[in-house]
Symmetry: C2
Subunit: 217 residues, 2 copies
Amino acid sequence: MREVFQQELREVQGRLVEIAGLVADSMTRATTAFNESDIALAEQVIAGDAVVDAAAKTLDELAIDILARQQPVARDLRIVVSALRISASLERMGDMTGHIAQLARYRFPDKVVPKTLRPTFREMGQLDVEIARKLVELLETQDIAIAEEIRDLDDRIDALHLSVFDKVLGETWKGAAVDTVDATLASRYHERFADHAVSIAKKVAYLSTGEWVPSES
Amino acid sequence: MREVFQQELREVQGRLVEIAGLVADSMTRATTAFNESDIALAEQVIAGDAVVDAAAKTLDELAIDILARQQPVARDLRIVVSALRISASLERMGDMTGHIAQLARYRFPDKVVPKTLRPTFREMGQLDVEIARKLVELLETQDIAIAEEIRDLDDRIDALHLSVFDKVLGETWKGAAVDTVDATLASRYHERFADHAVSIAKKVAYLSTGEWVPSES
């Protein structure tokens, strides 16, 4: 029984890695769609979100099935509950990639943000892609040193998020209201994406250290 | 055993109702703080979010403890898993009230949004408070007619959310960039608050009808 359970946990883990991979690919495409105003890519991201949702749902069903059949307790139980939470966070990360792609679609053929902000969003996008790739690695290896790296990347994204507001609210900002709205939303989506990654990293760190982390954030 | 389990489920339900009550109170205060620029109230909301977080954490621990001791299967298992998800959504709703209060604090002693938008935000705030009160009632009574009412309220909030963008992007908008940023964020927070309520309502509806709803949204 124990061995079956361990195998099922590996199955859960494999699926989490797979969903994280889908999310990382989606963020890669979303940032390109956003930065290059690539409408075809934006459409791909928006359509692809259903795949992430379906994969998360399948994983949830598997986890609940394991709870029912294996009746795990103590640490094993928390691992399965954590998997459900990680799945919910990955699903939200997928939503954020869809939101970013949608901004690109709304403004097409224009670019979403004016020139002065493009380097900032390019960097935020790269960092979000990097954080998503690190997340895949973390879920695969459970190496908690990677959780630290994710937190560091998130700090850099937070700093860029604040710098967007500094720019938009600064005296040199010449953007129209639509640019201000788009920059505000885009920055928030990029920042939330990274927040969810940190939230997952904390849960994985718990699985290694035994230190339990409450539901969200 | 079955009777103990039923009693524990009632305990879980009671705590969900309690947390939803905290969130409803917090939203009531947050909207007043936001609309009236009441800094003391804003501080209360921001400080109070830790109470919601702690209550959600306690509930999660209880739910996990029930899973470990009672080893529920089938529908009983899904009820407990749903409680964990509802707790996570309530915790996020609490975060939104904190974000709304923070906008009031940032702009104090000024009001957060210019005159032309105040009636819209007043209405959004009232609807969010109403949705939160309905949620308490739904969790208490499990009357799925209330879930429908929550969805209807959410539709009205979504329409107001779109109308904020219409105003901000319209030709008559005279707001500075800071007003545009604040209106964008405030509208998003109000809308997300309602989204989480709908997500919870779907889960409660499942508990009555047996129709399972995937992790988020």
